[in-house]
């Protein structure tokens, strides 16, 4: 569903990770790990198509639903309105499964601005369900979630995988998923050794 070959990503023009390759098939989850600053976010943004890779290829990017650090939630809109908007933006209509999966029924008519951080995060993750996209690309999805919500999230991911989806997750905590783990540290870009290459003189 998603295949990444020999991907090199740059942050601010400087390569951070190089030679990353993996495949993700239906029903599979892949967990990205690595120390801070290794370039997890950069890699995920490249895979989601938000930034161009320095080298390498991403196939299947059009099926991706991306969730980054920010949830894209408007404080002045209610939970339902937020979800309805994203559903419409991705060309779907039904938001009730998303409300159920993340236990947002009781909050449905609250303004998003009055939600707690964890509740907001749940709303942000519920957005993934309304996109109808098969491949979830998640950047630290469990930030500010309590244990119960993490379990809820893990269930949602499991259900998504069971229905033929796939997920690529950068996270530090154990979600209790049967997922492969990709350690990013070995892919850290080596600084260019020759000083006077063509444009590489700048990198």
């Amino acid at each position: 569903m998603l295949s990444v070959t020999d991907l090199t990503c740059a942050r601010g023009g400087v390569p951070v990770t190089e030679g990353v390759s993996f495949r993700l098939d239906a029903g599979e989850a892949l967990v990205l790990r690595g120390p801070n600053g290794i370039g997890k976010t950069t890699l995920l943004r490249v895979i989601a198509g938000l930034a161009p890779p320095l080298a390498g290829e991403v196939e299947g990017a059009e099926g991706i639903a991306y969730a980054g650090h920010a949830d894209g939630i408007k404080a002045q809109l209610s939970v339902t309105e937020n979800l309805r908007f994203w559903a419409a933006a991705f060309g779907t209509t039904d938001i009730s499964p998303a409300l159920d999966a993340f236990n947002l029924r009781e909050l449905a008519h609250r303004m998003a601005g009055t939600l707690s951080a964890g509740q907001k995060r749940r709303l942000g993750l519920a957005r993934l369900l309304v996109t109808g996209r098969p491949v979830w690309v998640l950047d630290e999805p469990t930030v500010s979630l309590d244990t119960a919500s993490v379990a809820l999230f893990a269930d949602a991911v499991r259900a998504h995988l069971a229905s033929g989806g796939a997920a690529l997750i950068a996270t530090h905590i154990d979600l209790g998923l049967e997922a492969r783990v990709l350690e990013l540290a070995p892919f850290k870009a080596k600084p260019a050794t020759r000083a006077s290459d063509f444009d590489e003189a700048f990198l």
Binding site: G12, G13, V14, P191, S196, F198, D199, A201, F202, L203
Partner: protein, 250 residues
Amino acid sequence: MGSIWEYANPVKFSRTVSAVLPYVAAAALGCLAVGLVWGFFFTPDDYRQGATVKIIYLHVPAAMIAINAWLMMLAASLIWLIRRHHVSALAARAAAPVGLVMTLIALATGAIWGQPMWGTWWAWDPRLTSFLILTLFYLGYIALWEALEDPDTAADLTSVLCLVGSVFAILSRYAVNFWNQGLHQGASVMRVEAVTGADTEEKVSNVFFAPLMVCMAGFVFLFLALVLLRTRTEIHRRRLKAIEARERMA
């Protein structure tokens, strides 16, 4: 060898600049000295404008460079957007302050000349107004370069601004013409009789023409020298930034 794109290599470019710069600078200095001294000391006064005609040796070349600097930036921006040569983007950045100073010179000398000729320092004449707008474009372009941290993002965004700005600069030119039909000499740079007053005799015009051409050459060389020097500085700065980034990473 042979291809002009060879010089898109920053190292090669820097080396070439170091080799060529003294000659270009010398040519600039020589032409400017000869042209300005010739124009200032050894040309007669115009019979209508008196001694103020001597200002054209600064005003006209500065105005010409001011416009052509923008055109050069436009070309460099296009090359960056299409071929992604860093040197090209940096050359555009390097040229902007030079262009800005040239517009300021053209505006200042114009205002000083206009005072006795038109009886006012400033008139909302189409040509002056266009230059004022050009100044704003230069300011915005430079400010955008300064504001953006990431050098490639800055190069991309300023290039897009340069393209869009060029279209709007032309639009503004027509709009301003429409808005006020102006009292500036209907001067195209090459028609010297227009610069010096239409009814001046051809023979007299030539007296002004030759030193003006020398001054123009001087300004062109000066522009080249400054852009080469400043581009090399930008390359150094960029390389410095890259080294520092790498030190931070290690």
